[in-house]
């Protein structure tokens, strides 16, 4: 594990200089051939022209498109897709705003002071910081990206990424409202989620490789004009994270329409099968963490422990999160991080269910 720059020995100065040791791509200037994918469009047609043409075509063919969407299944898909996006937009905007502030206005030295020096201690501190920040998972991905960019050790940023959507006050209140007869559910959810976030942070310290995280260089963030850099960060994060959010919302809408609930009924009778089924369902449905407690409450044919698994896994691993993480941190990272988080979350939630429920 010689490549592991995160494991700073106490007393030794941490290599915070290059964003906590993460590769921020510093590619040499584009080779001339880098243009080729766009060449076929010709030099005269830019994205704005393509966009304008696309919009005109869509407006002309509005009627046939509407007719094609008339099937109840496609209509339900569209409704669910649009509503996931509408629901997520304020949280995305809030997350992007905060991440742009972190990227542009908060000096690097602030994080060195705010978080414990030793990365192993920074992990629980960052998880605890997640408790006070209300928001859902769509917002926390760009925030975590910004934190890493600003030199916060990835382990702490990842712990924050996992803890923030799962244990904030709004989510815990929603859980209490959804389970009026089982107040212990709130405690179990909070404790299990915090434990998972910290385990993942520490696992990253031991096993994580910084080269898995590939974040593109963002020269505009160092712009001399703060305002210019801030709005460039907002624009980039909304189109970037938002685009991946669209991908995830499409996947979640498909699952919502294609998987009828009655399939679940047959799984509910077997204790282990029901845990796995609800864990997978949490990944596929990609519900907002502020809403998932109500859905869990309605899955009353399942045991409390399996529903706790649903609540712990959902905010940490789901289709739209995997899509956004792959976009912000790179695919090599997301395809290792998401399955590991899934396994840890299921195990911890089952353990917490056995002790607390």
């Amino acid at each position: 594990m010689t490549t592991d720059t995160d494991r700073a020995v106490p007393g030794e100065p941490e290599p915070r200089s290059s964003a906590g040791g993460v590769d921020i791509e510093t590619r040499p200037p584009e080779p001339a051939g880098g243009e080729s994918p766009r060449r076929w469009l010709g030099d005269r047609i830019g994205s704005v022209e393509v966009l304008a043409a696309l919009l005109i075509i869509l407006i002309i063919f509005r009627e046939p498109i509407a007719a094609a969407l008339d099937d109840p299944r496609i209509q339900t898909w569209t409704t669910v897709f649009v509503s996931i996006m509408v629901q997520a937009v304020p949280f995305l905007a809030f997350g992007v705003l905060l991440s742009a502030v972190i990227a542009v206005f908060v000096p690097r030295s602030f994080w060195a002071k705010a978080l414990p020096r030793h990365p192993a201690l920074a992990v629980p501190a960052a998880s605890a910081a997640g408790v006070v920040l209300p928001g859902c998972e769509c917002g926390s991905v760009p925030i975590a990206g910004s934190l890493i960019r600003r030199g916060v050790t990835p382990a702490a940023a990842l712990a924050f990424l996992l803890a923030a959507p799962a244990v904030n006050p709004i989510v815990l209140t929603a859980t209490a409202v959804a389970f009026p007869n089982n107040p212990e559910m709130v405690l179990a959810r909070g404790v299990a989620s915090l434990i998972v976030a910290m385990i993942m942070g520490w696992l990253w310290l031991r096993l994580g490789r910084t080269e898995w995280i590939r974040m593109p260089r963002r020269p505009e963030l160092d712009d001399a004009s703060r305002g210019r850099a801030f709005w460039a960060a907002v624009r980039h994060d909304v189109t970037h994270a938002g685009g991946f959010l669209v991908l995830g919302a499409m996947a979640a809408a498909s699952i919502n329409v294609l998987v009828p609930e009655r399939w679940l009924q047959t799984l509910a009778d077997n204790a282990w099968l029901s845990i796995l089924a609800l864990a997978l369902l949490a990944v596929l449905l990609s519900l907002c963490s502020e809403a998932d407690a109500f859905v869990a409450a309605s899955l009353s044919q399942f045991s409390l422990t399996s529903r706790l698994v649903f609540l712990v896994v959902g905010p940490m691993v789901d289709l739209k999160l995997i899509s956004m993480q792959a976009g912000v941190f790179g695919r090599r990272f997301a395809f290792r991080f998401a399955p590991t988080t899934f396994a840890v979350a299921v195990l911890v939630a089952v353990g917490a269910g056995a002790v607390l429920l």
Partner: protein
């Protein structure tokens, strides 16, 4: 996707969100309480679009970062660097931003209806665990207006005690029940339509006949002690003894 195109998409998305939240369109997709946040988020998107265009169309700052992204706009650019944000790999990434056109189209062109009978048939009735133990008396009025959710929980968990012999009036849409008979349903949301779950009511007496699924009706009737079962989640479905009904337009707030 270059910066100007991103700005146009942000403008469209922000505009679509603001339009949906100042009209009642947003009520088809999310809860009412989200409205101020939607408007704020829409304004932020519009501001980001305007500021992007402002910085793009202005002469570059003294320390310009990407000479290729100069002030010249669009096709006149001599070197064809259009679309490069001047940073390494990034020309691959904002391409995913094109997808943001889909929610814009969904909100501006399609504006799909609120969840209806298809979604109600897919999911089990939401009333499967007791939410509340004692029910206050019904408000004044004859017939008294109650929501489908309120009637169903009183009928199920209170066995109709708090309804008694009162006449109730409720509004919902028609769906087809397991036995092929029409049922009255209404969706409840906790956050957005993705977590929408139906509350289902069986109908006896003067059952609304000849209406297609998804027609909205206002039914007046009395408590019935008959119970059915939802095959989807094996939960109990209460019944309503219908005395009269009439078709109504889709309500402003389609969810309970």
């Amino acid at each position: 996707m270059n910066r100007q195109a991103q700005a146009v998409i942000l403008l469209l998305l922000g505009g679509a969100v603001i339009r949906a939240s100042v009209t009642d369109l947003y009520l088809r997709y999310v809860k009412e309480g989200l409205r101020p946040f939607l408007i704020a988020a829409g304004l932020l998107l519009v501001a980001a679009a305007i500021m992007t265009l402002w910085y793009e169309l202005r002469p570059p700052a003294p320390r310009a970062l990407a000479p290729a992204d100069g002030p010249t706009v669009g096709p006149d650019r001599p070197d064809g660097h259009d679309g490069h944000d001047g940073h390494g790999r990034a020309h691959h990434e904002p391409r995913v931003g094109w997808l943001l056109i889909l929610p814009v189209l969904g909100l501006l062109l399609v504006a799909p209806p609120a969840l209806g009978s298809y979604a109600a048939g897919q999911a089990g009735t939401a009333l499967s665990s007791q939410q509340q133990s004692d029910y206050p008396p019904l408000p004044e009025g004859d017939p008294v207006q109650v929501s489908v959710l309120d009637y169903a929980s009183r009928a199920l968990f209170d066995r109709g005690t708090s309804i008694g012999d009162r006449r109730v009036q409720l509004t919902g849409f028609i769906a087809t029940g397991a036995d092929g008979q029409p049922i009255l349903a209404r969706m409840v949301l906790s956050c957005c339509a993705a977590d929408g779950r139906p509350v289902k009511l069986g109908l006896t007496g003067d059952v609304p006949a000849g209406l297609p699924d998804d027609s909205w009706v206002e039914v007046t009737g009395r408590y019935s002690d008959r119970l059915g079962r939802d095959p989807v989640n094996d939960a109990e479905i209460p019944y309503l003894e219908v005395e009269s009904w009439r078709q109504v337009p889709v309500p402003k707030r389609p969810y309970d």
